[in-house]
């Protein structure tokens, strides 16, 4: 019982980080149908920006989180302008390879400038351990911070997408780009905003991961990046609640698998679940099947 609660706590923390990254994937996929492989590396950049600010400027947790989100959203917009915009009308596969090349570029430019070694993320949050059941279940304040920040960001996102003008425009573009353009929506601007918001969430996730695991390195993006993508597909890619659900689901599955001795297989289990769900429900757990038009 105690172990299950402990795993639930760990799973929710990990899951909220996956969910934050998955949101960016799902927004970009929803709007331009691109599996943005560079998204995981934007999250890595976010972690490094947070690291630089806390280490060299000595700022606290909240300012570093905000600066890192802003930096990442600018980075996301720049990437979109330079790399994806010229290819907007070319085939899916060349867009995908461009995304992979952007991902490689970000990874190795960081390796070149900061070196490939793992760094220790400064302890910006004092960790207070709250124990239950005579110390057999430990709830770290870090976990609470991570969950609270994730929930705040998700609620903000939901508000932006559902209630604001730009959110409405985003949904319109995701539904039908040409029609939205005919209705006077500036599609380029909307795509830019989508990248900015998605990348900001990835930047926040980067800082949170730095705090959660205490270590960052330039190649940290590819693993969780793929995993977050799996989460987005699990929930139904293109759907915001789907990404959140998929993220938490994957985080919980992963911690439970590790807890019961399968830690070496936890990635394999994640991908196996992905394949099974794709076979049973190709549009994801929360997605609706779309009939193909002839």
């Amino acid at each position: 019982m105690e172990q299950i609660i402990q795993q639930l706590i760990n799973g929710v923390s990990l899951g909220s980080i996956y969910a934050l990254i998955a949101l960016g994937y799902t927004m970009v996929y929803g709007i331009i149908n691109l599996i943005n492989f560079a998204h995981g590396d934007i999250y890595m950049m976010g972690a490094f920006v947070g690291y630089a600010i806390t280490t060299f400027l000595g700022l606290g947790f909240i300012p570093s989180l905000i600066i890192s989100m802003v930096a990442c959203s600018i980075l996301g917009m720049v990437i979109e302008k330079i790399a994806y915009k010229p290819l907007r009308n070319s085939s899916r596969i060349s867009l995908l390879i461009t995304a992979i090349s952007v991902s490689l570029f970000l990874q190795y430019i960081m390796v070149y400038f900061v070196g490939p070694e793992t760094r220790t993320f400064p302890n910006v949050l004092e960790s207070n351990r709250i124990t239950f059941f005579d110390g057999s279940v430990i709830l770290d304040t870090k976990n609470i911070y991570i969950l609270v920040i994730t929930v705040i960001l998700m609620c903000t996102l939901q508000y932006v997408v559902r209630r604001t003008k730009i959110g409405k425009a985003m949904r319109a573009v995701a539904l039908d780009k040409e029609a939205a353009e005919l209705m006077g929506i500036n599609v380029n601007k909307v795509i830019s905003y989508t990248f900015a918001i998605g990348s900001a969430l990835a930047g926040a996730a980067g800082v949170l991961v730095g705090i959660y695991y205490n270590t960052i390195d330039p190649l940290m993006g590819s693993g969780p990046g793929l995993k977050a993508f799996v989460a987005a597909v699990l929930g139904g890619i293109g759907l915001i609640p789907g990404a959140v659900f998929g993220g938490f689901f994957l985080g919980l599955v992963e911690t439970i698998v590790s807890a019961y001795g399968g830690s070496v297989y936890k990635d394999a289990v994640a991908f196996a679940i992905l394949i099974i769900i794709l076979l049973v429900k190709p549009a994801g757990l929360l997605g609706k099947n779309v009939k193909e038009k002839v």
Binding site: L87, T98, S101, L104, Q107, Y108, L274, I275
Partner: protein, 316 residues
């Protein structure tokens, strides 16, 4: 059709001449071991690229897990040659066969998926194979598989590359190959015309996996040593990049792409950490300025029969 027509005889003579030339140059030491390593790598990459081109370029099935078939081939071959001491030809065939079986097993369920979803599922499959290889102690686990006898040489590479190219080229220009191409052009229309799309997709997957397995076998038995991380997601991407770089649906494109990218990455090896950055920039520039690849849809003209022009109206 006569087998001994002028065209075939010329090709055969040219191939034999190339083989003898290579053999003489290697035996006399004009091609040193470093150059030979690159020739072997180019050969392996050609086999991988041509086999992936059959799946992605001709049949239109977008997969990101090709390295997994290579891994299955490499490990099968390593087990056959290092643990059972059987001859190399058995290892090559065994490797191809195992990879092919895996191709069918993964193909039947996942090929119902389309486009990006198939890419994701095959990506997941590739990662699962890699993680399994990491955790099976019999084949070395994360440390890797050591002491594989080195059988791969110029003869094997040459024969296998020629075998792969001719077989896949002939397959594409056969009745079955046309069915595969029709699936890429329009799957629904192909199905409406009576093409059994699942059958041909699985067939293309099985053949592609077979040759990827052979490439894995050649790889394992050249480098003495294999480890699961050599066959990860990035390897699949590398192969896909060769195919797209050379031109989807073009066999000469895959050959040129394999040569060009192997040479580029060899040259970039000397500049250390910036290597991957430059590689990424090259990749990006190609995608922006030449998204159809170097050779577009060029086919092996000299290998193709001169056709009577009765299919002119097919496009109109």
């Amino acid at each position: 059709m006569k087998i001994f027509n002028k065209r075939n005889i010329i090709i055969t003579i040219a191939l034999i001449a190339t083989y003898i030339l290579g053999k003489v140059l290697i035996d006399t030491g004009i091609i040193d071991s470093y150059l030979q390593l690159n020739i072997i790598l180019i050969g392996i990459n050609i086999i991988l690229a041509v086999s992936l081109n059959l799946i992605t370029g001709f049949t239109g099935q977008f997969t990101l897990g090709h390295a997994a078939f290579m891994a299955i081939g490499a490990y099968t071959s390593a087990i056959i040659t290092a643990k059972f001491n059987l001859p190399f030809i058995v290892a090559i065939l065994g490797a191809g066969l195992m990879a092919s079986i895996a191709g069918v097993l993964i193909g039947i369920p996942t090929l119902r998926l389309k486009g990006d979803y198939l890419a994701i599922a095959t990506l997941g499959f590739g990662e699962i194979i890699r993680i399994l290889a990491l955790n099976i102690d019999y084949i070395g686990g994360a440390i890797g598989f050591n002491d594989i006898p080195q059988y791969t040489n110029w003869t094997w590479i040459f024969v296998m590359v020629v075998f792969t190219v001719i077989l896949i080229n002939n397959f594409i220009h056969s009745y079955h190959g046309r069915a595969c191409i029709s699936i890429k052009e329009n799957e629904i229309a192909a199905e409406a015309m009576g093409v059994n799309t699942t059958h041909y997709k699985v067939l293309a997957f099985a053949i592609g996996a077979f040759f990827a397995g052979i490439a894995g076998s050649l790889y394992a038995n050249y480098f003495y040593f294999i480890k699961p991380d050599s066959f990860g997601f990035m390897k699949s991407v590398d192969i896909l990049v060769i195919v797209v770089f050379g031109g989807m649906g073009s066999i000469p494109g895959s050959i040129v792409g394999a040569i060009a990218l192997t040479v580029i990455s060899t040259f970039l090896q000397s500049i250390g950490d910036l290597r991957m950055v430059i590689y990424a920039v090259i990749l990006f520039l190609i995608m922006v300025y030449k998204p159809t690849g170097l050779m577009g849809k060029t086919e092996l003209k000299f290998l193709k029969k001169k056709e009577v022009k009765h299919n002119v109206s097919a496009k109109g």
